[in-house]
């Protein structure tokens, strides 16, 4: 059956807002790295964005429903790639996350696995035949997400593993989880907490402790939190001179703490503006979910919404001191190829769904 797909249906409004955020990101990266050895990072970021845009267009050409048919293979491939990281992965900074590609680039499978997970969860819930979840559905859904999550956790990469959770949560919520089920699971999780605490690595424990009490360890893990708050706070309402960023008191300003760097320079007004942009993007995405032609489409788009919201919550939360320090980047703004590419491919999926909303 041929389907008529027109680029008029492309969500130009969405792309405009997304590119606005990206542009702000590029400018901020440039400003934050101008005096450091990372100077020129903003150029690389532009290349990533360009590549991402191309990827987005390409992905939107595919028929997402056909993709979903093949999702079983893709899921196997995802597990396979995570397994090859566990076996062949290069250790860097104490974690095995990357595989070295011929050509010298590093490939981080945990990012594209996220993409596949969104599709897998969407397909699972789309194919469900009940309005409400049974326990076996619940557990199966948990396993679909849980297995890759545990594999990533073993790398060890707690931050990225946690980003898989919102996909599951969103799927479960929209898929019809019952209040009783949710409460029971929360109770179990709560009692398992102390055990999980012991399993945490020392630096992860440090991060949580310093999150609670940053002053206790001024020069160690608490350092980043304090510096971030100082940077953000000194921005005032309209922005400041960005001394904390430029004098390198703010660590990794071009990646994890880019929002802090931006807030320092553009103050409350600027920061709130960027938050508004993100909010508009999320609302637009949700609208696309509501106009999706089928359940699967809705789940796909909402999966993307879940991941995006989670990233923003954790990253900006960390920057203002509400959340412990994790290595989670701010999508579209933080410098980093895998994050940018993932976002654009995910947006490609959203485009995909939107463009076919009149087709059946």
């Amino acid at each position: 059956m041929s389907r008529y797909v027109s680029y008029r249906d492309f969500d130009w409004l969405l792309i405009i807002f997304v590119l606005m955020i990206c542009t702000i990101g590029v400018f901020e990266i440039q400003s934050a790295t101008v005096h450091t050895k990372f100077a020129g990072a903003h150029i690389k970021q532009m290349y990533w964005i360009l590549g991402g845009l191309i990827g987005m267009f390409l992905v939107s050409l595919l028929n997402y429903q056909a993709l979903l048919e093949q999702v079983h293979w893709m899921y196997i491939a995802a597990i396979g790639s995570l397994m090859s990281v566990m076996i062949f992965g290069q250790k860097y900074l104490g974690a095995r996350r990357w595989i070295k590609m011929p050509g010298g680039q590093h490939f981080q499978p945990s990012e594209w696995v996220k993409l596949i997970l969104i599709l897998a969860v969407a397909k699972y819930f789309a194919d469900m035949h009940h309005r409400e979840l049974s326990w076996s559905d619940f557990i199966k859904a948990g396993a679909i997400v849980g297995i890759p999550m545990l594999m990533v956790l073993a790398q060890p990469d707690l931050g990225t593993a946690l980003t898989y959770m919102p996909i599951a949560l969103m799927g479960l919520f929209l898929g019809g989880v019952r209040l009783k089920q949710a409460l029971i699971v929360l109770l179990i999780a709560g009692s398992v907490m102390p055990l999980a605490w012991h399993k945490l690595k020392p630096y992860q424990k440090d991060r949580l402790i310093s999150f609670m009490e940053p002053e206790a360890d001024k020069q160690g893990s608490g350092y980043q939190v304090i510096q971030s708050k100082i940077a953000v706070g000194s921005g005032g309402i309209w922005g400041g001179t960005g001394t904390q960023t430029h004098l390198s008191y703010l660590p990794v300003p071009q990646t994890d703490f880019i929002f802090a760097a931006f807030s320092e320079e553009h103050g409350f007004v600027g920061a709130l503006g960027v938050l508004l942009l993100y909010f508009i993007v999320l609302m637009r995405l949700t609208q696309n979910a509501q106009t999706a032609p089928d359940r699967a489409g809705t789940f796909v788009v909402m999966g993307v919404v879940a991941v995006l919201s989670f990233h923003i919550l954790v990253n900006v939360g960390m920057v203002v001191g509400f959340m412990p320090v994790t290595g989670i980047p701010l999508p579209l703004m933080s410098y980093g190829g895998s994050s940018v590419l993932f976002m654009f491919l995910a947006l490609g999926m959203v485009m995909n769904v939107r463009m076919r909303r009149f087709v059946n």
Binding site: A39, L174, G236, G240, Q244, F268, L275, T286, Q290
Partner: protein, 652 residues
């Protein structure tokens, strides 16, 4: 039927939207709290909370001689820094800064401009080696110009006039190419490392580890308090096997000449002196060397930067006859060989001349050595053939590096049939063997190689590894001690050993080739060599051109068996081996003299000593020496150390 097209519950979708809204409002509240409510508090923290990191440079280890006398030391030198981590307008202050530091204001501004792409917490080096008044200027203006600071660096002080320059080497800033190599993984740009000689070879030991001092500064750059300090770990000092006294003698002997001198203890391989000429002054490199000066050194045809002791590959000339002798004896040919030398001989249709035009007359094995008869050794070479010669020469270390603990040693060339095929894809012609017999032709050795080979022969086949540092003096685990103390044994027939060494002893007697080098009272055995670098015919045409003059070689040791010291001299352009011999025996004499100097016996802790004395005095009439005076004294015998040998020039 609940199917795929059944929409997701719109209630739940709306719920998600509201959850997202709530999240964003919480985040906005977080921003509000920091940026609006507590803005002043954080702005203040931003002002106060600055940490400045200043490196504390580690001094490099001293280099000492075998008796612990200092050869290379450091001197403290101050550099002026410009700190850029404050909010001050540096360009405005450039005038005053330039005045105080005796620079041009334009220079200062240029430097500031050049550094804009570097991180702001990295200071700019304005001036090295500042004078005390410039130092005072900076200290006095700490309030008005808080961006100025000083850092103490240690500069290397080398002996002047190039004394021991090649052996000791010099230091320089680590280059980008070096940083990319795995062994320099832990080094940072700006680190000073050894670039040549001992400084390079033992850099790991000599180089210390920089510390750092952290201080709290305010936004104007004024220091508010000290945070902590990691002290620098100074480099460890290095004790060489070299003897400064012998080194002085060797350097004096080569004054105004080109070439190399080496002195070694044949029993353990410890190098006692090493000279290469011409030389250069490494102190010039300690501050930045100008491009012109560098080019001058690199392009000088006499190659002052080359350590000729280990890097000059030249034909050994007649000194090679000693190795030939060992080969000939072990193969049972030389001991019974007798030739009649008439000034030359013909081999394979070509005439090969002897250096004595009229010929030596009848020559046996011993006479061939002390008279250095070419015809004998041509004959011996023909009988042995190149591969047998190569076998013994290679066993004695020719054509290979000695493994001395200095960088960039070269291996020289010991030809053989296999060597010719491998390198030239041609067969070895028997005629080429003849010249090899007298140490000419395709053969090329370094002075250290030649010295080691003959040292092995002098020690009845016991071949050591030459080294300039005693491995037992180093901290354990740094070097492979086995590499330094490894001894190879070359089998030499005992009668051959005594015959050869006795013949070598006659070289310095009236019947030998270097009688003028003889030192009364010292039993020196050796061999002279005069190596051509161009053909004799060409040489005759350019008789007065120094570029074509022959190299004089001499290797000698004392005593003739189980010697204590061996000296090798390469006298470039010296023409005759006997001139090299005279230089070498001077060095040997210096060694023997030093050995003979007994330390004076001093009274130890005698406390008070009774001394009685009688002396002549003038008598009452004034006539000298007619009277006698006498006295009884009590003297405190104090400890007085025996005077040390003369210090190296350049050490004050």
């Amino acid at each position: 039927m609940f199917g795929r097209d059944e929409k997701v519950s719109s209630i739940r979708l709306t719920a998600v939207q509201y959850i997202i809204l709530i999240i964003f409002m919480i985040l906005a509240y977080g921003l509000w709290r920091l940026q609006v409510m507590q803005s002043d508090f954080y702005a203040q923290l931003a002002e106060k909370n600055r940490i400045r990191n200043v490196p504390i440079l580690a001094p490099r280890g001293k280099i000492l001689d075998r008796q612990g006398r200092v050869i290379v030391d450091n001197y403290p030198s101050f550099s002026a820094l410009l700190l850029r981590d404050s909010t001050r307008d540096l360009n405005a202050d450039a005038e005053i800064i330039a005045q105080g530091l005796h620079l041009e204001p334009k220079e200062v501004r240029d430097r500031i401009r050049k550094f804009t792409s570097m991180p702001q917490y990295q200071p700019i080096f304005l001036k090295d080696d500042i004078t005390p008044d410039e130092l005072a200027f900076i200290e006095a203006h700490k309030n008005e110009l808080p961006e100025l600071d000083t850092i103490m660096a240690h500069r290397r002080l080398y002996p002047r006039n190039g004394f021991m320059a090649h052996l000791v080497g010099y230091v320089g800033e680590v280059t980008e190419t070096m940083l990319n190599q795995p062994q320099f993984e832990f080094y940072n740009p700006g680190d000073v490392v050894g670039v040549s000689g001992v400084e390079k070879q033992y850099n790991q030991i000599l180089m210390g580890q920089n510390g750092s001092r952290r201080a709290l500064v305010d936004s104007r750059g004024k220091e508010m308090g000290r945070l902590d300090e990691t002290p620098a770990v100074p480099g460890k000092q290095l004790k060489l096997t070299l003897d400064i006294d012998l080194q002085i003698a060797a350097e004096e002997v080569m004054e105004g000449k080109n070439g190399a001198v080496l002195a070694m203890n044949p029993r353990n391989g410890e190098i006692l002196a090493m000279v290469s000429r011409p030389t250069f002054d490494p102190n010039d490199f300690a501050v930045r060397v100008s491009r012109d000066e560098w080019n001058k050194l690199v392009n000088d045809p006499d190659k002052p930067l080359l350590n000729k002791a280990i890097q000059a590959q030249l034909a050994p000339g007649s000194t090679f006859k000693i190795l030939m002798s060992v080969a000939g004896w072990q193969e049972n040919i030389a001991q019974t060989l007798n030739v009649h030398c008439s000034g030359g001989a013909t081999f394979y249709g070509r005439r090969f001349g002897c250096w004595v035009k009229g010929g030596h007359g009848p020559v046996d094995f011993t006479k061939a050595i002390y008279q250095s008869c070419d015809v004998f050794f041509y004959t011996l070479a023909e009988k042995l053939g190149i591969d047998r010669i190569a076998k013994y020469a290679t066993a004695l270390g020719l054509g290979q590096k000695t493994g001395i603990d200095l960088p960039n040693e070269v291996s020289g060339v010991m030809p053989s049939e296999e060597w010719k095929i491998r390198n030239f894809k041609q067969k070895w012609f028997a005629g080429e063997t003849i010249s090899v017999g007298i140490g000419q032709g395709a053969i090329a050795t370094t002075p250290v190689q030649l010295m080691r080979a003959i040292s092995a022969i002098s020690m009845d086949g016991r071949m050591v590894v030459p080294h300039v540092v005693n491995p037992t003096e180093l901290p354990s685990g740094v070097v492979d001690v086995q590499r330094y103390t490894e001894v190879k044994t070359i089998p030499i027939d005992s009668t051959g050993y005594t015959t050869i060494t006795d013949a070598m002893a006659r070289v310095l007697l009236p019947e030998g080739t270097a009688p003028s080098a003889h030192i009364p009272g010292i039993d020196i055995a050796g061999k002279t060599g005069s190596a051509q670098i161009v053909s004799l015919a060409l040489r005759a045409k350019h008789e007065n051109d120094d570029n074509f003059a022959q190299n004089g070689w001499f290797v000698g040791f004392t005593p003739r068996r189980n010697p204590e010291i061996i000296v090798c001299v390469l006298f470039e352009g010296g023409e005759h081996g006997k001139l090299a011999a005279r230089l070498a025996t001077q060095v040997i004499k210096a060694y023997v003299d030093k050995q003979n100097r007994q330390p004076t016996k001093m009274a130890k802790d005698a406390g008070k000593v009774d001394v009685g004395a009688l002396w002549a005095t003038p008598d009452e009439d004034g006539k000298a020496n007619n009277g006698i005076g006498a006295g009884h004294f009590v003297v405190e015998a104090s400890e007085k150390k025996p005077p040390l040998a003369a210090a190296a020039p350049g050490l004050q």
